[in-house]
Symmetry: C2
Subunit: 156 residues, 2 copies
Amino acid sequence: MKAPTSLAKIDGIDKKILRFLMADARKPVLEIARSIGISGAAIHQRLRKLEASGLLSGSKFIVNPKSLGYTTMAYIGIYLDKAMSNPMAVKQLEKIPEVLECHYTTGNWSILIKVLCRDNEHLMQVLNKEIQAIEGVSRTETFISLAQQIDRQISI
Amino acid sequence: MKAPTSLAKIDGIDKKILRFLMADARKPVLEIARSIGISGAAIHQRLRKLEASGLLSGSKFIVNPKSLGYTTMAYIGIYLDKAMSNPMAVKQLEKIPEVLECHYTTGNWSILIKVLCRDNEHLMQVLNKEIQAIEGVSRTETFISLAQQIDRQISI
DNA sequence: ATTGAAATATGTTCGTA
DNA sequence: TACGAACATATTTCAAT
């Protein structure tokens, strides 16, 4: 992945290609080619350019956490002591596999994290034994997601 | 995607396959086969089973929003009037492309959303002209993400 | 930037163990 | 489940426009 120095210029064909692949990363380039009416080689070249520009940062298989028994998602706002630097806290949070996202935020908290746990009991363990155990964490506020109703990427 | 009726049973080989594909959805199955020392046909068969079980819910190309000029991410807690039902609000939020996630949460707010905007001004527009305009939205609290320091899926 | 064609590699199915 | 072989597709490169 390259850090973008300037904005990527993409045209309508790029957008069509991206929309296909954002929905299904394994869609064959030749299928896309037939759908939008240009050659496979052209798409291949465009994808190389998009990747080189840093606009494409890879692809992922999506696993359904519920199939693995992970049904409890929550956001946790974390208050940090002044003494505790954000990077130090993040380093500790990285070691906790249940922490899927970590944001350095404006507002009440220093940090907002998203965690995924098997159930409420597991969430409680993670809160009490993992998060609260981090030095510098003074207080937390937890918001359990009862349902995730929207989940998507930037619209192209 | 199938809703999981029971927990998926996956073994070490399944995990290895998933780890490869979660990191790079386009990694050729035959490459994975060579890496872990079983035949491509076996992996193919396992992937079909994992998909049928609902554990695999597709794949995505990841686009870097910064390359498109989207640099401001924020979480917004939304207070809904009692009269406004959650599904009605979600229906309106779905129409706003800047809204990437929407959670029905416990705690202070009725809804927590994640939005992605070009800049602070764009965020302000979305807040004032889109979110606040939704009937039933009484108040919002915004937390801007100054930096996202962790972003990953469930660990397998 | 795009194309078609050639060479290489992969996806997919199937019979068998 | 896993395998290998056979067939169908896809990826990748390249010379030409």
